[in-house]
Symmetry: C2
Subunit: 515 residues, 2 copies
């Protein structure tokens, strides 16, 4: 067989099921090999930011890597921002980047670039394949590297001749590293601050926002009176009726400091001491109160679940206080004109069971999150790396991973324009994604930030860089052009009807909420 076949056989043996792709000439033999493995679902994205963002969504929901098939340096470059977001989520991801044939590279053909430098700057693990015999083994190592707990970005650079030439070497199944052990001394320290009557907080993140971890953390909180909190942007959080409420740290630093004010000790599990998203003149970078005691019991790579179990046992924590479960939701209004706060309570009411929410609503979505604590049980995915243009692809990949679950994507208009091509893939793959576009025709967050950084004296020309007003994007026309049933809603009745139907139907829809 040729080496491309050997690579795909090896990856399939390891568990590969989905290839997100925008291939070119240098990946042709890899494309051809896909047809020999019915286990693989190939999914085309019309831009590489869709490909890498979808792979992240797929990984967050399936727990394993897809393979992204990318075309030389520019293909990887186009995928950079959503690889960055995936890296911050610690999602497992494999990028297979085709390159010029080994002997062709020196001629500096037009598509030649510093691919190795780019790969290093974007990935946790990089390997350049040197011969067809090495390709499949490189695939084994890439799979292994991607699945080292909790997940890494592995990039395999594949010169075209290393894929098209014959080989008899396939790769093995190599074990990935599981979660590392935490330090027992820190467990004792955590026990101490949780029981010493200080105002303590249990701060969860990373992998430890699943129902089991949340329940354990809530037992600890019930027993000790510790507050529960989590990261501003979470990889995946289980939420809804009967599931403990763990509030994220607010985005803006002042609000985050207020949220943390008075806290005397914080135990971190699967997270680290929170820092300001950006620096601001004359403001601190660390957000936790200055003299608070910080115990990093389990890092992102360590066994946070075992840490929670151990604490539960040491504390004999077995009960969950009802006060830590969601309380009754604000009732959604039945009629009238729609405004953003209504969207929150409406989605709170209408969110279907086992929905997956991909949240990049930015300023407009602040009303949705608090209103969905008492919705039917669901998973919530957020913008982990801060690079806008993740929400639509993330929703796309999550829907590929979970074909039986409805996906709801909450998106600001500015960010949605970054990777709007995602809607086409949702249509092609007939994915049940309901995309809510909050159309305020501005990068609203930047208008807020402009004041916060103290750069106040701006005029129209500077302000124009935050405005999406001229021209107004026609979202229903845009959504339709890419194959999604599209609506713009002006009343509460409209929204209720359109949303309820959209989450039930196969295929994507787009609902513009204007304000």
């Amino acid at each position: 067989m040729n080496a491309a076949d050997a690579l795909l056989k090896t990856l399939v043996d390891n568990g590969l099921e989905v290839v997100f792709a925008n291939p070119g000439t240098s990946e042709m033999h890899l494309v051809a090999a896909i047809d020999h493995y019915p286990q693989i679902r190939p999914v085309l994205g019309l831009f590489e930011g869709v490909v890498t963002g979808a792979a992240d969504g797929y990984a967050r929901m399936s727990g394993k890597a897809a393979a992204n098939l990318l075309h030389l340096g520019p293909g990887l470059g186009n995928g950079f921002a959503n690889i960055h977001n995936a890296k911050k989520a610690r999602s497992p991801m494999i990028n297979i980047v085709g390159d010029h044939a080994t002997y062709h590279l020196k001629y500096d053909a037009p598509l030649t670039s510093d691919l190795d430098g780019l790969a290093k700057s974007s990935s946790d693990w990089v390997e350049r394949v040197k011969s067809p015999d090495e390709l499949a083994e490189g695939g084994s190592r890439a799979w292994q590297a991607a699945h080292n707990f909790p997940g890494k970005i592995a990039t395999l650079i594949v010169p075209a001749d290393c894929a098209w030439n014959e080989t008899d070497k396939t790769g093995e199944i190599l074990n990935s590293k599981g979660p590392e052990d935490f330090d027992d001394a820190l467990l004792k320290e955590a026990y101490k601050v949780l029981t010493d009557k200080s105002k303590s907080m249990l701060f969860l993140g990373g992998e430890f926002l699943d129902e089991e971890s949340l329940n354990m953390a809530t037992k600890i909180a019930t027993k000790t009176g510790a507050r529960l909190a989590t990261e501003t942007f979470r990889k995946r959080q289980r939420r809804g009726q009967g599931i403990p409420v763990v509030e994220p740290l607010p985005y803006f630093a002042e609000m985050a400091e207020e949220f943390l004010a008075g806290t005397e000790s914080i135990v971190f599990i699967g997270s680290k001491p929170p820092v300001s998203f950006f620096a601001y003149p004359d403001k601190r970078s660390y957000l936790s109160p200055e003299n608070s005691k910080l115990v990093q019991l389990a890092t992102f790579e360590q066994d946070g679940k075992k840490a929670l179990q151990s604490l539960c046992e040491m504390l004999e924590a077995r009960e969950i206080s009802k006060e830590l479960l969601p309380s009754t939701t604000v009732e959604a209004p039945l009629t009238g004109e729609l405004d953003p706060s209504h969207v929150g309570s409406l989605i709170g009411e209408l969110l279907p069971e086992e929905a997956i929410v991909s949240d990049e609503a930015a300023t407009s979505g602040f009303a949705v999150y608090p209103n969905t604590w008492n919705s039917k049980p669901h998973d919530w995915l957020s913008l982990t790396g801060g690079s806008i243009g993740q929400g639509l692809p993330l929703a796309t990949g999550a829907a590929i991973a979970c074909p039986d679950r409805p996906v709801v994507c909450l998106h600001g208009d500015g960010g949605a324009m970054y990777t709007v091509q995602s809607i086409w893939t949702q249509a092609r793959e007939n994915l049940n994604v309901t995309n809510i576009i909050f159309s305020n025709r501005s990068y609203a967050i930047l208008k807020i930030e402009l004041e916060r950084v103290g750069a106040l004296q701006t005029g129209d020309r500077a302000q124009s860089l935050f405005s999406l007003e001229n021209p107004e994007i026609n979202w229903t026309s845009l959504g339709k052009s890419l194959g999604a049933e599209s609506f713009t809603t002006l009343t509460i009745e409209d929204f209720r009807r359109v949303f309820s139907s959209a989450v039930k139907e196969p295929g994507p829809s787009l609902i513009e909420v204007r304000f």
Copy 2:
């Protein structure tokens, strides 16, 4: 003043007129400073690939750099592919990339990435500013580096506090390097091969496809019988009535080898020996005939114009043969159904005087180029780095540089989807760009390449990765959603009417040509 102001003052003193931008919080003070300099036109792109591609188009038409305002690593990453294309075009470009404040970087906030590594992999020149006093001087050096002949990619990394703090230091105007001298021995060698009765070729590229260079080259060809040729993808080529015809090397290697067959010597000016765009099993990388004599008289960085002048003088070459000027164009049909070959002759007839053509039509555009030799004089810009998604932003930037000239963008549908957000910027800036979208609903070139690489046994699943058929993109709906008058043309009469009107009117239009 703050350092952001000092930087912009310095850049304006150097000649800066346009900032293409998609800024964020870390660039706020730079945004605010724009308002203090009425000399600067700020242009918003809804995705960074639009920003960097537009800067390339602006540079090709204005001869100087714009400044791109980009948001940390992911912002630069999103711009990577069109920076790559600009680098291959050797266009001057300045990227000003905001970063976290110097003291904030160590906290690994969500938007932190290996920005320095990414900048190195994408740029010819990189500098990280260390203090507010250094910022403006860094700007001077960036301007200088970007304008070293013929043009470089300069990236200045600006931590937020190095922009917001006060300084009294502005930067100077530093001279950039002009074209380097060529080697006199090579001039003698070039003279020899052009006069020794061998079948010789004069191969022009880079900066030397302007009218003056083309005329000199054609005088040499008239005198010596040398053939004229140029690169497959040109930064900017002057063409049209009365302007010498210099044929580009065909894209596909077999056709390129046929084009060059029998050539015994090639003199390169502003270019280098051509190589195959990709490697293919059992095919050569170099395209020139194996025993041909290659004389690299002037490299990209050298003074090709002086080389042409010197050759003209040595050869006493003063006449231009009429045979080397465009011959009468094929007449465009008047009525009937439109097919791609008609579009060629129709644009040939209708292209307005001093049009700028941005060409990323790929397989569909092959009929337009040969039909426009005898159009009214115009400039032709092509996809220099092979990374698709350049055509629309390039057209956008060219229109910013030349507000009085009509711009025509020829684009394949696959590539157009990469940076379709460009149309919004064209609408916002009221740019006279006529976008022709050749809609064949496939990555047609990849279907051809699949055969050429010998990877023949593919089935439906692999083939689906080259198809844009499901769902079909509705281009008129898409164009309208982003603010462009949009049409889909089915007859020759329609096309003639719509195109003629579009190139005269301000603001963008989109014409879908389906086949």
